[in-house]
Amino acid sequence: MKKVTYITQKEEAKTASASSGNLMELAIANNIEGIEGDCGGVCSCATCHIHLTPEDFETVGGPGEIEEEMLELEDNVSPYSRLACQVPISSLPEQITVKVAN
């Protein structure tokens, strides 16, 4: 089980845990505001944009080419942006805090 804390734009924190799936699915299952997951995780809607901390970004890794092209055009993009649907729970450290970008 990995523990994930989502911080929304309204600065509300919510912690959830999972052992499989991805960060978008976990957010949807826990009604995290600002994560819509419209395309169900195929990297086409960018409604699952999050920011990692620099350290976690190092551990989890950066976006692939297709994801990067999506992120390039997003508002509120940071060097540590990811699309939550492209981050598998299995790639995470035991505990992680992510910020919802929108």
Partner: protein, 383 residues
């Protein structure tokens, strides 16, 4: 078995120069064909506006048949955001379980009916009915209302010999006017009433604004959904392994629908008007001229999509623009996605077998590009 295929007519031009030209009622359009350019242009709402003269960003242009601005589609930021925020929650209702159950009921009945007949014509007897009945859910009006919409036929603006038929469009506009008056005198919990009761910055929406949202809801989800449903059935008939695979693994529903939307691209393109002299893809675009974002071409761009002309129901990375891109992306996408998911899951659950008998292709004519977008008629057998 007839092979189902929607060929990509844009390949050559997309590779060579990245754009194409279309004549349209003395207001030509530069079609942008590459995924990257389409996305970038969609995001640049300052230089490529939607809030031009009502009807002008549509291709073929509707400036001669309508003066009502479609909302939020023909509105630019910052006003766009205010309208969109007002509508978002309502258009996400398809995610609710009751909505899904009603949708499933509508679709199951149509499939049962089709199975009981020797042969069915898909466009009129399935797709049009399905689209109309499902729309009653989105508007939250009684199911019977769909019968009126079905009687209008598949096209609201189009007749046999005229792609923008003003008389036909008037039927829809007059109908919407009447429904708005009805909702004013007898408010309920339908979309008209909800909108008439909504406020932006302390001001109630006026009738013209409500009409603008309603025209968009009717027109935007008509041919597009009809084509998507028809093409889905045509595809399934030539790929008999698809439904059993979905039945075996229902998690495929999501990737399958996204892939079908990518491949079908039910809306070929949508225009913008340049607010200044600019360029896209090293091609000069003059101020006040039109460009279009060609979703259909972008969705086959081999720079991003591996084997773009193959339907892969399990495509994992699928950054398609079948529902548009950026702030104007399709407001009805949640509804449309659920229509297609439910259609696939009902057919899979019921072990339906489909056989194509005869299809008349619907070919759009965009100057040098002829694009098959679906069918005018499609005869099939259900068993």
């Amino acid at each position: 078995m007839e092979k189902f295929e929607l060929p990509d007519p844009f390949e050559g031009a997309r590779e060579q120069c990245g754009y194409g030209k279309v004549e349209d009622q003395d207001d030509p359009v530069t079609m942008l064909l590459r995924l990257r350019d389409v996305r970038k242009t969609a995001k640049n709402t300052q230089t490529f506006q939607s809030g031009a003269q009502p009807g002008r960003i549509v291709v073929p242009s509707e400036v001669n048949i309508r003066s009502t601005r479609q909302i939020p589609f023909e509105v630019d930021p910052p006003m766009h955001r205010l309208y969109r925020d007002l509508l978002e929650d309502w258009f996400r209702r398809p995610e609710k379980d009751t909505y899904k159950a009603q949708l499933s009921d509508i679709i199951s009945k149509l499939v049962q009916e089709a199975k009981s007949k020797a042969q069915v014509e898909i466009v009129n007897d399935i797709a049009l009915k399905l689209q109309s009945r499902a729309l009653t859910l989105l508007l939250n009006v009684p199911l019977e209302e769909a019968e009126t919409w079905i009687s209008w036929g598949t096209h609201v603006f189009r007749s046999e010999d005229n792609p923008v038929d003003g008389d036909k469009a008037k039927i829809l506009y007059d109908y919407i006017d009447r429904q708005i008056e009805k909702a004013l005198s007898n408010p309920g919990d339908d979309l008209y009433s909800i909108l008439l009761n909504s406020e932006i910055e302390g001001k109630k929406l006026n009738k013209e604004e409500v009409k603008g949202v309603m025209i968009l809801t009717f027109a935007g989800g008509r041919d597009t959904v009809i084509n998507a449903v028809t093409n889905t059935l045509a595809y399934l008939s030539s790929n008999p392994k698809a439904l059993p695979a979905i039945k075996e693994d229902p998690t495929m529903l999501n990737t399958a629908v996204e892939e079908l939307v990518r491949y079908f691209s039910p809306l070929t393109h949508m225009g913008r008007v340049a607010t200044e002299d600019t360029e896209v893809c090293e091609h000069a675009i003059k101020a006040d001229s039109r460009v279009s974002l060609c979703w259909a071409s972008a969705n086959r761009d081999p720079k991003t999509f591996e084997n773009p002309n193959t339907i892969d129901l399990e495509r994992k990375l699928n950054p398609h623009v079948g529902f548009g891109f950026g702030i104007h992306k399709c407001l009805g996408a949640t509804h449309a996605r659920h229509v297609l998911r439910t259609l696939l899951s009902v057919l899979a659950e019921m072990d339906v077998k489909l056989k194509m008998v005869k299809g008349d292709s619907n070919i759009e004519d965009w100057g040098e590009f002829k694009r098959k977008v679906g069918y005018d008629r499609l005869e099939m057998k259900f068993s």
